[in-house]
Symmetry: C2
Subunit: 356 residues, 2 copies
Amino acid sequence: MADPFYVVEHKALEAFAQQLLEGAGVAPHRAALVASNLIFGNLRGVDSHGMQLLPYYVEQLNSGLIDGAQDGAPINESGATMLYNAANGLGAVTSDICCGHAIRLAKANGIAFVVARDANHFGAAAYWGRRISREGLIGFAFCNASPIVPPFQAKEARLGTNPICMSVPGPADTSWLLDMATTTVAANRIFKAYHNKQEEIPAGWAMDKEGRPTTSTNEAFNGLVMPLGGYKGTGLAVMVEILCAILGGGAMSTEVGGLRVKDRPMGVSHSFLAIDPARFTGAAEFDTRMDKLTNYLHSAAPGAGFDEVLIAGEPESRFEKARAENGIPLGPGEWQRLLDWAGKFNIAPPASNHNA
Amino acid sequence: MADPFYVVEHKALEAFAQQLLEGAGVAPHRAALVASNLIFGNLRGVDSHGMQLLPYYVEQLNSGLIDGAQDGAPINESGATMLYNAANGLGAVTSDICCGHAIRLAKANGIAFVVARDANHFGAAAYWGRRISREGLIGFAFCNASPIVPPFQAKEARLGTNPICMSVPGPADTSWLLDMATTTVAANRIFKAYHNKQEEIPAGWAMDKEGRPTTSTNEAFNGLVMPLGGYKGTGLAVMVEILCAILGGGAMSTEVGGLRVKDRPMGVSHSFLAIDPARFTGAAEFDTRMDKLTNYLHSAAPGAGFDEVLIAGEPESRFEKARAENGIPLGPGEWQRLLDWAGKFNIAPPASNHNA
């Protein structure tokens, strides 16, 4: 991080997040869930899905775009499936309930699929994958998102970064956990390169405003995010759009709102898939086989320029360990926005170390 | 196609494929299934998964690596799930049965997941996605594959091209249908560039043998296929490995055999996921909403260098229409291998037009 930043102990920061949400009128049990979800993002180094989101949530709670008192309700439970109306509740609140249903239905049926519409930002998808995998099930989480990505061969945005997350049962700090946007990189990597005055970005990240691939940071900043690998990334984003918005009946494509959109609720859809390994090779055998696969992957000789081979989730687990010990760094603008809300709500902020 | 080639009417070619399989001792109803699966690949322009596979099948049938008389059998049916022993049967034969179970279980439960182990090549995954979506369900097909892809940051192969396929209900010729390997491109695109003496390939396709990204066709030919977008492609390939081999209890990673491997059966695992839209927004509403999403995507202004925006499956549907009318082109080596087997089995080959 090039800018000066502030470091806050993670538990103190989580308590602060909860207080701010309570300041915005959210009941303590709901505020605690959202705070836990945000700190999870920061702990794992995914700062775009951490405390940085909180001021947006507070603004949307204040303006009524998010209904902080809503839990939502099932529309239809049928077999191993459920359609859920999130009713503009906080994303973490309705997702927690939906994951609970997915877990219950998967334990009863071996697999379950829950789709929620009219939902809000649920933070890092990995939080929900792990929410399910902690119960001994394979957990998937998907959501559609604000339209900032053009489909392959286009120069107008139609899709979100539509992430795919999959988490397997096992120890939280070593288990394979995939959480990926279906673009080559998250849009904020491009913003960061721009703000750091870095002239070039790697090939494959972005397109200029005419849809031509570019490595110019300036053109990319004024241009478009690139779908992962062209038509495949678009295909995966549409897959997620179908599993969320099409099945759920919620806003799709350009209908979706966003954190910075003020004329309508975000209206994203979430979906949660849970699979019980006990119905296949068995839970213990599943763990043994996951270890074996992880060993196969770790045993591959590193390529030129690398000294180790990591599995999905391993970089984030390292962040989690380090930040649990050393605290969470927050940018100066981000910290100030939190302090501003603390002032308005008359809340004392936690201690922070200022690093230059 | 630069080389001279032979063109055969698709129905005659399908009948020929069936005869060749019967020549190798396969019963007519099983031979017909495999032939239909192979011709589907050719019709859709996916020649790597068409008739080109047939001589490998015949060799493996002859050597006993594939058991052409096997249907396999369920190991465990439980709730909305099934674990299936494919028992080295022909891939299309056991996949057809597994898709039947997935359809039955999804109609009963809203969603179903069937995993088959000890299976063989099932041709184009799209065939199985569509097998399920023809019944009004969303169909997914996955399989693990021969280890030719290094994980991200490595220079030794540990994973297959592990495809992801998803197909939605609707008219076969216009519906969205995703079928993608989790590498940037299929390995045979690199082989083709090499055989065509094309000096450079696009960035992102391949690495040299030390795991360094390369655009030299020669280095790529002697090197490694690149996972789609680096760690994300590896993550998706591992996702497929888990959904197939880890859950199924079959061969994983470097344990998997291959079409050219003669000391053990292929031993891949397949999995099939089916979801019933009727349990969510309803079947009719699902169709309406898919049309709407397709329109959103088609309506995006094309980027520089393109004059239209296509959805997944659209290029293949165009191939299907053209090749159904004009016949299927086969390379000279490929055609000769089929003629050789026809000679051995005393089968008259269909008429072909020779084009230079």
